[in-house]
C-alpha cells in the first residue's frame, strides 16, 4: 500500500488518493489540433521506472499533486503541488 506524502497533509494512505494519469503531458492550448490532443490524451510513455503522475488527495485536501514514483518498486521520491515541476531521474 502506497503512503503518499501530501505536501499539505503529510503521509497518507493510498486509499485517500486517486491517480489521474501521466503528469508530463500538457493540454494543448486553444490552437491544438487533433494530433496534439490525440497525443495529450492517448499516447503514453508508460515508463518501466520513474514516472511523474497526477494524484488527487481526494479524501483529504483535494489538491492535485505531482508525484514522482517508480513503477516497479513503487518508491515515491518526491511530491509537489500542481504548479511545481519534477525532474524524471535517468532510469
Amino acid at each position: 500500500m502506497l503512503r503518499i506524502p501530501c505536501p499539505h497533509c503529510g503521509a497518507r494512505d493510498e486509499a485517500e488518493f486517486s491517480y489521474r494519469g501521466d503528469a508530463t503531458v500538457t493540454r494543448p492550448g486553444a490552437d491544438g489540433d487533433i494530433a496534439a490532443f490525440h497525443d495529450y490524451l492517448y499516447t503514453r510513455t508508460n515508463p518501466r521506472g520513474w514516472q511523474v503522475e497526477w494524484w488527487q488527495h481526494a479524501a483529504g485536501c483535494r489538491a492535485f499533486l505531482k508525484v514522482l514514483r517508480h513503477t516497479v518498486t513503487h518508491e515515491i521520491r518526491a511530491v509537489v503541488t500542481a504548479t511545481g515541476t519534477l525532474e524524471v531521474p535517468p532510469a
Partner: protein
C-alpha cells in the same frame, strides 16, 4: 513424439512413468527465423501455433524473457466468455470461444476448458437495461445469452444473497457457453503443440532491442544474442510500451496493476462464474477446489506484480456482500499481474508504424479468453501483412479516427477501464 492420451498414461503408469519426455524442446536460438514472436504467454504461443498450423510458417521462434506462461497467462482468473456489446468485440470473442470449444482436440492437450456458465448480476433498472442491450446484441450476432430473473439467479448460484445486501439482486445475464480454462495448461498446451510443429520456444531470452533498417524490422537483440527475422510480432502484454520504445514509437497503453486471489481448497460450492454488479468482484471455483476471485484494478500504473491491501479489502468485502457464506472461508494467496490497459478497454491486433513489426496487445484484464483468437488473428495479420476482418477494428490509430471501441463508456482513462 507421441501425443498424449489415456492409453499412453496407462502404458507409462505401468512403466513407472519413465517414458515421458519434455512437453516442448528447449532449443538454443538459431541466428534467424521467418518470424519471431516476442513473449511466451498464451498470446505469443498461440500466434506461433497458428502460424505453423494455419499458415504453414514453421520457422518461428517464441522468445520469452522468463518462463512461458508466467506472465498474465499464469496469473489470471481464467474466465472465458464472449458476452460483449459492440459487434467488433462480440464477433471476435465469439470466434475465440469457438476455438476454445475445440482447443483440447486441436492441441492434443487438456486445457480443461469448462463451460460452466458466466453469470453477470445486475441490481437496478439501468444495469438491467445495459445487460439487455448487451445480451440482445449477442443474440442478434448468434451468440448464446439468457436473461435470468431472481429465481433464475438463485437456481444458478444458490449462495448469492438476493435481498439483504446494500443493493438487492434484480437478475443476471447468463452466457452458458462461458466458463473457465486451466491457465497454465493453456500456455503449456500451445507450447506443446507449436513445438510439435517445429516452433522453437526459447525461454530465458529477453528482447533488449530491435534491429531496424530503413523503417523496417530486421530482427531483435536479446540476452542470448541477435536474432534476425523479417517479421516480428509482439505479444508481451503489460510490457508492450517497453518493446515499442525499443522500436522508437509510443502507444496508447498504460500498464496497471490487477490482483487476484485464491481460497483454500473446498468441496464444490460455486458451480459457475459469477460477477457482482454492485462492486468489483467475481468468483469461480477451480477444479482443485480453490475459489478464484478478483476485482478491479488497484488504480495506478505498475510493473511490480504486487497488489495493495485496501484494494484487496474491497474485493473481499464485495465478496461477502454478494455471498455471505464466504465470510468463514479463508483466503490462501494473493498475487497480481501487470495489465496493458488501453483508453477504450479494447485491444490492438495490428501492424505498427515499423514495417514488419506487428503486435497483439492492450488486452486489459480480459485477454485470457482472447488467447486463441488473438493468436489466430495475429498470425493471420503477420502472415498476410494485413488484418483479418475479425481484427480490422483493433488498430493503434483508431483514436486518431475517433473510432473508439468503448464497451462501457468509461472514457479515455486507462485506469477507469
Amino acid at each position: 513424439m507421441a501425443g498424449y492420451s489415456g492409453f499412453r498414461i496407462l502404458l507409462e503408469g505401468l512403466r513407472g512413468n519413465s517414458g515421458w519426455r519434455e512437453a516442448w524442446r528447449k532449443p538454443d536460438p538459431k541466428p534467424s527465423y521467418d518470424v519471431i514472436i516476442v513473449g511466451g504467454g498464451g498470446h505469443g504461443l498461440a500466434t506461433a501455433f497458428y502460424l505453423a498450423e494455419v499458415h504453414g510458417i514453421r520457422n518461428v521462434a517464441v522468445l520469452e524473457r522468463g518462463l512461458i506462461g508466467q506472465g498474465n497467462t499464469g496469473r489470471n482468473t481464467t474466465i472465458v466468455r464472449s458476452n460483449y456489446l459492440l459487434p467488433e468485440n462480440n464477433n471476435f470473442y465469439e470466434h475465440s470461444l469457438k476455438l476454445w470449444e475445440r482447443l483440447e482436440q486441436s492441441l492434443g492437450y487438456n486445457v480443461m476448458m469448462s463451460q460452466r456458465g458466466v453469470l453477470n448480476l445486475f441490481h437496478n433498472d439501468a444495469q438491467r437495461n445495459a445487460a439487455m442491450r448487451r445480451g440482445n446484441s449477442m443474440r442478434l450476432n448468434g451468440i448464446d445469452a439468457e436473461i435470468l430473473d431472481r429465481e433464475g439467479v438463485k437456481a444458478m448460484c444458490p449462495l448469492v444473497d438476493l435481498d439483504n445486501g446494500r443493493y438487492p439482486v434484480m437478475g443476471g445475464l447468463l452466457q452458458r457457453r462461458g466458463g473457465t480454462a486451466r491457465h497454465d495448461a493453456v500456455a503449456w498446451g500451445f507450447a506443446h503443440a507449436a513445438d510439435a510443429r517445429g516452433v522453437d520456444i526459447i525461454e530465458h531470452c529477453e528482447v533488449t532491442g530491435m534491429i531496424l533498417e530503413g523503417g523496417a524490422i530486421q530482427g531483435v537483440r536479446t540476452t542470448r544474442g541477435e536474432i534476425r527475422a523479417p517479421k516480428v510480432g509482439l505479444a508481451v502484454a503489460g510490457h508492450t510500451s517497453t518493446l515499442t520504445a525499443m522500436a522508437g514509437f509510443r502507444v496508447p497503453i498504460e500498464t496497471h496493476l490487477l490482483q487476484a486471489f485464491v481460497s483454500e481448497g473446498l468441496k464444490p460450492l460455486i458451480d459457475c462464474v459469477v460477477t457482482f454488479g454492485a462492486g468489483h468482484f467475481y468468483i469461480s471455483q477451480s477444479d482443485k477446489g480453490g475459489l478464484v476471485f478478483g476485482g478491479g484494478l488497484d488504480g495506478y500504473p505498475s510493473y511490480g506484480q504486487r497488489g495493495t491491501l485496501p484494494e484487496a479489502e474491497h474485493v473481499y468485502a464485495a465478496g461477502v456482500s454478494m455471498i455471505p457464506a464466504l465470510g468463514r472461508l479463508r483466503g490462501l494467496r494473493s498475487w497480481a499481474g501487470v495489465m496493458d490497459m488501453t483508453p477504450d478497454g479494447s485491444p490492438y491486433i495490428c501492424r505498427t508504424p515499423v514495417r514488419g513489426l506487428y503486435m497483439t496487445a492492450g488486452w486489459c484484464y480480459g485477454g485470457f479468453k482472447a488467447t486463441p483468437a488473438s493468436g489466430w488473428c495475429h498470425a493471420w495479420t503477420i502472415a498476410k501483412d494485413e488484418p483479418h476482418s475479425l481484427n480490422a477494428a483493433f488498430t493503434l490509430d483508431r483514436f486518431r479516427e475517433g473510432r473508439m471501441l468503448d464497451e462501457r463508456g468509461n472514457g479515455p482513462h486507462f485506469w477507469a477501464q
